[in-house]
Amino acid sequence: MEAEVLSKNEELLKRALYRERQARFKAEDILEKKTKELYVVVEHLKKQITDRIEAEKVIKRNQAQMIQSEKMAGLGQLAAGVAHEINNPVGFVTSNLQTLKKYSLSIKKMISEYDSLVSSVQSKDIEKSVSFLTELAKTKEKEDIAYILDDLDNLVKESIDGTNRVKEIVKGLKSFARLDEAEMKEADINEGIESTLKIVWNEIKYKCEVIKKLSPLPMIVCFPGQLNQVFMNLIVNAAQAIQEKGTLTIESFVEKEDIVIRFTDTGSGIKPENLEKLFNPFFTTKAVGKGTGLGLSVSYGIIKKHKGDIFVESQVGVGTTFTIKLPMKGAAL
């Protein structure tokens, strides 16, 4: 009996030992599996990190290149635009001046003949004087003095107009050069719109009729050059959105505490799914190489820096409106 009991106990203990050992094996097995699994996760995460580090290096490298190409594109655009704008007036002024040079010769010749006449009159030699007249009339005819005298003023006036146009462009450039200014200034937004229009005129004139509805605005403290950059982006974008010919309406007015500037084009419009991404850096719907997609995000940044706001509404096939609101109380930027 005693032996039997003990033997039963032994059986119990053996079973308990078996269970315990199996439990240990299970625990050890789970430990190994989990460790392995976590090893994989950790390796994966580490790889993600090294991948990101690589990607960041690429971003930095690309950054330099992108800056370069943006800068080049901008400079090229400006240089080409200015060259084109100046070329025409300078061309005809030069040509007028060449004509004036010829006219000058003719006039001198004429006057020297007149002076010969004067000499003969002075010597009271009426026969000789009269005979000069034929000569004179011939020269006058030959040199087309009547036309010259008639044309002279036109040429000079036209040339002055030409040089004035160049001067206007120079003024526009100077105003545009204020882009570079690091300091805030009082400025008239309408003036900024006007001078920006002058700069980009060459680029947009074939595609859009520009309708200006600019109400008088109070001066505001701002970075005028930066705002001009925003205007330029919006104007050029509008022109690019127009397929053949269209209208760009630029309005400015005061509304409550804000100056509102609105650019409405009759271009192709923006798809709703793109509308919300519009101000993201590097978002562009333009073909590769046609734009870095920075214009609007930079504009957004500039407007935010001025404590203002920029909105867009658009309907595909109808057009797009960008609205900028700038607080008049210049805000301590």
């Binding site: 039963k8 106990n9 119990l12 203990l13 079973r15 308990a16 269970r19 199996q22 439990a23 240990r24 299970k26 625990a27 789970i30 430990l31």
Partner: protein, 179 residues
């Protein structure tokens, strides 16, 4: 249900009733786990319920009392395994269960099915604990609380004013701490 609970239950049965009963419980309830438990895994709570049911029949003690006793035993065991979680006093400890202890358990066993506790703290010597669990183990919770009270050598009165077994949406323990 976490394996550590089964492991402790095994220990309790061996300690209080002997290896023979534990062996027989496994023999008779035929658990899927075959009675092989490790804290590294979870097991179905029905295995525990079967053991407790059998034990109640053998001992004539009610299931509720057995579960409560087991809760008490479990807390004492756990307090030895994880002394770091035993913060300065009884009430503080109870309040850390949900936000600290269960949060830590989740880090190690993300799939652990833990009960939720929310608290009301109406007075310095009072605490309301609201228990929710699909396992409806409020008696286990009660035993755990009692075990904690013993660990902290703190007197407490507990009245359960709501119970999921009575179709309440949760169980509500109202504790008065101290004499």
């Amino acid at each position: 249900m976490k394996g550590v609970i089964f492991s402790i239950f095994n220990e309790m049965i061996e300690e209080k009733f002997g290896l023979e009963l534990w062996d027989r419980m496994i023999e008779e309830t035929k658990p899927v786990s075959k009675g092989i438990y490790t804290s590294a895994q979870s097991y179905h709570e029905s295995e525990l319920f079967s053991y407790v049911g059998l034990l109640s029949k053998e001992t004539g003690i009610s299931v509720e009392d057995l579960v409560r006793t087991f809760g008490h035993f479990t807390l004492i065991k756990l307090s030895k395994l994880y002394p770091d979680f035993l913060v300065k006093d009884f009430k503080e400890f109870l309040k850390t269960i949900d936000s600290v202890i269960h949060a830590e358990v989740k880090k190690i066993y993300p799939d652990a099915g833990l009960p939720s506790f929310t608290y009301e703290d109406p007075a310095p010597n009072q605490l309301v604990m609201i228990y929710k669990s699909p396992r409806k183990l409020c008696h286990l919770a009660e035993g755990l609380i009692a075990g904690a009270a013993e660990h902290y050598q703190t007197k407490h009165k507990l009245s359960q004013t709501k119970c999921m077994h009575l179709n309440d949406p949760h169980c509500r323990f109202e504790l008065t701490i101290g004499e």
